[in-house]
Symmetry: C2
Subunit: 146 residues, 2 copies
DNA sequence: CTCTAATTGAGAAAGTTTCTCAATTGTATA
DNA sequence: TATACAATTGAGAAACTTTCTCAATTAGAG
């Protein structure tokens, strides 16, 4: 069935799926594409709505299944907000942290991880062996400050 | 109706509610007590189960309502985990960050906030005005390392 | 002690997520 | 390119979670 990405892009994405023995289906592509083209995080329902504009027949269950797959592949991340964690955004490349604008919901990438050095330090201070961390920053983006 | 805390403790808690014009009900006390006595975060259902040991008649809706109230009072925080954010823990005093042990689920308090200085720095780097942050650390606690 | 507004329990309702299964479809192989 | 097969899908049912409604109860003020 049809590709939803340009050929070079498509092959790259296909690779991602195939490495894990997964099919590169138009539904999975559509979910990924919708998130890639959004500058902000999206709720499941918004994702479903947008996906249906590309592939009208897509069922909600498939959106759930695709998101699960894409998160496993580290192509997509779940965004945790005060009132819940039912939103998703395209995963930044490598280890990064999102800055979420509380006015317009856009997601800005912060490319450095301030925790790398800190984790060691905290491990020593507390005796706990810190393995991973979860950091999100919230504020006002440039546009919304004006 | 009955107090679920020692008198000095009770008066302190009562204050918290009264300041916001809220009643100090046994149900709210029970939810708070359950979380205070747990060293780890608890799911809604576990909280309900434990609360019913103190107050057998307590309804699930009341647990939801109490948690909402306690979070508003900053006495309780929602814990965000990989697979969802349906768990709650007693709020640390002041601005702190929880370290969650991925083996035994216990929550260790980290008393310093590494983000205070960093927020300013990141604001300058990115142009985004950082207002708040959300940080959780994951690792292995002392006991589980042994 | 009395009064009142806030809170509660119970169950209904709404909303979210997962499951089931027959039909479809990517992809490996020939 | 055609074939075969396992993975995936859509649809709806089922399970689960959260919110709502309302009559009955109750904490706290006076
Ligand atoms: Zn903004
Ligand atoms: Zn980091
Ligand atoms: Zn969350
Ligand atoms: Zn902090």
């Amino acid at each position: 069935m049809g590709k939803l990405f340009s050929i070079s892009n498509y092959n790259e994405i296909k690779e991602f799926f195939h490495k894990k023995g997964l099919k590169c289906t138009p539904q999975r592509q559509a979910v990924l594409k919708v998130l890639q083209e959004s500058k902000s995080y999206l709720s499941i329902n918004k994702i479903h709505k947008n996906v249906k504009e590309l592939l009208p027949e897509t069922g909600l269950a498939t959106v759930y299944r695709s998101l699960e797959t894409l998160v496993e592949l580290n192509l997509v991340v779940k965004v945790h907000l005060e009132d819940g964690c039912h939103s998703y955004a395209i995963a930044p490349e490598g280890h990064r942290h999102p800055i979420v604008c509380t006015d317009c919901n856009s997601v800005i990438e912060y490319t450095e991880c301030p925790m790398e050095d800190l984790s060691k330090q905290i491990s020593e201070q507390t005796g706990v062996q810190i393995n991973t961390h979860f950091l999100q920053l919230f504020g006002k983006c440039k546009e919304c400050q004006a």
